[in-house]
């Protein structure tokens, strides 16, 4: 049975791809035959993927070896130092868990789209569902990729699909520009990723993630002095591997919207709301963090890179959370919360909390998909007005949406016992215990901790402004109703956001001694080299404690919960009143800076127009003047001499005969002179 579920693994990604083809072809040639504009094939395909993923996860759990790794060689190497390029599938606890999450969110997003796109009378639905299908298929293939090159290829496809879907409403001015920005900014990071992939090939001759011939394993052996590897730029292996790690990290920073490449994500809110849910929870943005987790065996060997990841993550968490505080539009707040939460995941990975970060990736997928779909429901109700200051009092009008959204918000803010509390707390705990010996990590921890307060504040500001108080506009007084296809995904995700944290309650386990760390067990189940336990052995960190281990756990959990409650309570007190004021105005000029996103866009545009453009102009001048000048010079000399020489064609036969004869004579004389006849 297990073998069969492994054999069927490629179908997990093939099903959404088929739905993409159906939506594309039927949409182009027979739109009337396509049920619901392609939604039904999409739902069927992603539901099939979900079942197969869950089956594969069960099989991984049950089988002793727990991995299935098969490669198709699509380019065979020649020569001495040849390497082959493979397509393969790697199923281990991490990838199967991610497969389940991605396909689950994809099913729910497809169902929700029935309410958000079909019922709202959108046109171009086959194109929309084709995009969703390809997006899901690319992400699923990326998740089970067995090597870095294959992962890179599907990473790029994910970027392409985000471009297609963010720019879905291409007739309006905003979406195409946002789509281009998302594509270009992530491509900038992917450029480094590509160089990194080539570097890994050149160094190890393989890019496989798992097995004795995999690059993390080889790197481990090289650093232990048991093997040797080619290094470049005259660096020793440790430094060179750090360079490779940082290059690959470029792609991660772009896709997972970490500072300074986060600017595309808030603009990506121009896409349809279900697409935002998919991008933020399961596909696109999750891809970056997942990649670091996938090759964690490599990163765990590199203390400098880990510290860098942790610091960037902690900084991004705080930086994005502070901007979320002042935003007016519902989806903008959620966008900055996504950047901030992925910052936490990076902090967790950098701080050595592999399980913690994976845990947060899972809970975040649930509660962020929930929040976006809830926002989508509110947006339907508000006739596509997203400004929170035009809402208010929606709680009574749409109770299902309200309670689901509240569940997601409690999880996002990190209030016990909702899922976000357990995962965020574990991330912060890992950063604290490993940071007690490392000042840099402790700084990242401090930023992450401070961000908890901001997270609580902006989350409950958003909830209070949207659902509480008196309705502030006529639309909010009489909102549009939503159907079952909107409520069903909200209920499923609302439940998951509330209870998903129960799989890994570390503080409770420490306190009671009960065995509640199921995710730890799960991530330890795979092949030896890919387990959380093995990564723990590789990590360069030593952990300190404040008092005993128990007091450290409780202190960390207590402080983060206290800060979250303080932030949430403050927001509640300020905004959950009948007629709230815009209290953030009191921040004065600081608010202007926050509202303009710290002028990040402005300076990046300045880099483009003030620096890159003149440079490109200079290069263009050099190209036009020098390179093309040489080419044009050669051609004009040829033209000129040709126009002179052609005059010997006088049309008089006798002249031709003379030229022939004279040339023959000259030739004979020349040959004679060279041949020495005279």
């Amino acid at each position: 049975m297990a073998a069969l579920s492994f054999e069927l693994a490629p179908v997990i990604a093939a099903l959404p791809f088929v739905s993409f083809l159906i939506a594309l072809l039927a949409g182009a040639f027979a739109p009337r035959l396509l049920p619901k504009g392609g939604a039904i094939p999409g739902i069927a395909a992603t539901a099939g993927s979900l079942l197969l993923s869950a089956w594969a996860a069960l099989a991984v759990w049950n089988s002793s070896e727990g991995v299935y790794h098969e490669s198709i060689t699509w380019v065979a190497g020649v020569g001495d130092a040849a390497f082959d390029l493979h397509f393969g599938i790697l199923l281990d606890p991490l990838s199967t868990m991610m497969l389940v999450i991605v396909s689950l969110v994809a099913v729910l997003v497809h169902v929700f789209s029935l309410g958000y796109m079909n019922d709202e009378g959108e046109t171009g639905l086959p194109r929309y569902y084709a995009g969703l299908g390809l997006f899901t298929a690319s992400m699923l293939s990326f998740v089970f990729a067995s090597n870095l090159l294959m992962a890179f290829m599907f990473f790029e496809l994910v970027g392409l699909c985000s471009w297609l879907l963010i720019g879905f409403h291409f007739r309006e001015p905003g979406p195409p520009s946002a789509a281009k920005k998302a594509f270009l900014v992530t491509r900038f990071g992917d450029y480094f990723f590509l160089v990194g992939v080539v570097g890994v090939f050149a160094t190890f001759g393989t890019t496989a993630f798992a097995g004795s011939e995999s690059f993390p394993h080889l790197a481990e052996q090289v650093l232990a002095g048991e093997a040797s590897a080619t290094t470049f730029l005259g660096l020793d292996p440790q430094a060179w591997f750090a360079v490779l790690g940082l290059l690959v990290l470029g792609g991660v920073v772009g896709k997972s919207a970490q500072y300074p490449l986060h600017t595309w994500l808030p603009d990506a809110m121009e896409g349809p709301t279900p697409v935002s849910a998919l991008i933020h929870a399961a596909t696109m943005v999750a891809a970056g963090v997942y990649l670091v987790a996938r090759m964690y065996g490599f990163y765990a060997l590199l203390p400098q890179v880990l510290a860098f990841i942790a610091f960037v993550g902690g900084f991004t968490a705080l930086f994005a959370a502070s901007m979320g505080v002042v935003k007016k539009e519902l989806k903008q707040v959620l966008a900055y919360s996504t950047i901030s939460q992925y910052g936490y995941m990076m902090l967790g990975l950098g701080a050595g909390g592999y399980v913690a970060a994976t845990f947060h990736l899972m809970t975040h997928a649930f509660f962020k998909a929930l929040l976006f779909l809830g926002a989508g429901s509110v947006i339907i109700a508000m006739h596509h007005n997203e400004n929170m200051w035009d809402m208010g009092g929606l709680k009574e009008k749409m109770p299902v949406t309200y309670y689901a959204f509240l569940s997601g918000s409690l999880a996002l803010a990190g209030i016990v016992p909702f899922s976000g509390f357990w995962s965020k707390d574990e991330v912060l705990y890992e950063a604290l215990v490993h940071g007690l010996d490392s000042p840099l990590l402790l700084g990242a921890y401090a930023m992450g901790l401070l961000a908890v307060f901001f997270t609580g504040f902006y989350t409950f500001r958003m909830v209070a402004l949207t659902f509480h108080g008196d309705p502030r506009t006529d639309t909010a007084r009489d909102p549009h109703g939503v159907g079952w296809n909107v409520k069903l995904p909200l209920v499923v995700l609302g439940t998951l956001a509330a209870v998903a944290g129960l799989v890994n309650m570390v503080p409770v386990a420490e306190l009671t001694g009960a065995h509640l760390e199921f995710l730890h067990d799960w991530l330890d189940a795979g092949p030896e080299a890919l387990t959380a336990h093995h990564y723990g052995d590789l990590l360069p960190y030593s952990s300190g404690t404040i008092g005993t281990e128990l007091t450290t756990v409780l202190l960390s959990a207590g402080v983060s919960l206290g800060l979250a409650l303080a932030g949430a309570g403050l927001a509640w007190k300020l905004y959950a009143v009948a007629d709230p004021d815009e209290h953030t105005d009191k921040l004065g000029s600081a608010k202007t800076v926050l509202f303009n996103n710290y002028y990040q866009d402005e300076y990046q545009v300045w880099i483009a127009t003030g620096l890159t453009l003149p440079l490109a102009r200079a290069a263009d001048k050099f190209d036009q003047g020098v390179i093309d000048g040489v080419v044009n010079g050669v051609s004009s000399v040829s033209l000129l001499s040709g126009s002179r020489v052609k005059r010997i064609q006088s049309g008089v036969v006798t002249n031709y005969a003379f030229l022939l004869t004279a040339s023959l004579v000259v030739l004979l004389v020349a040959i004679g002179l060279i041949g020495g006849w005279f």
């Binding site: 006088s650 049309g651 036969v653």
Partner: protein
């Protein structure tokens, strides 16, 4: 037996007469005759060397050359007829329209 050098001298003389004709005359018919002279100068060479080496291949080639020369004359006379129709003359220096 006459030594081969004499044949070569005759051949060179005939060839030079042909070249002289082409370079100095204007009449297209004289042109044709001069070309025939040059071709036959080559034939003399072929036959002479064939005899000198005792190998009949050269003589056979001269037969082919004669056939080719006959064909060439047929085309040449065709060209001269057209030349006459267009320019009412067979003077080759008048026909200078085919040039740059």
């Amino acid at each position: 037996m006459v030594p081969v050098q004499y044949y070569l001298l005759v051949s060179a003389a005939v060839f030079c007469i042909g070249v002289f004709g082409i370079l100095t005359r204007r009449n297209a018919l004289v042109f044709l005759m001069s070309v025939e002279l040059m071709l036959n100068a080559a034939n003399i060479n072929l036959v002479a060397f064939s005899r000198f080496h005792g190998n009949l291949t050269g003589q056979m080639f001269s037969l082919f050359t004669l056939a080719v020369a006959a064909a060439e004359v047929a085309i040449g006379i065709g060209i001269i007829l057209v030349l006459y129709r267009n320019f009412a003359d067979v003077d080759v220096t008048n026909a200078t329209t085919m040039r740059w």
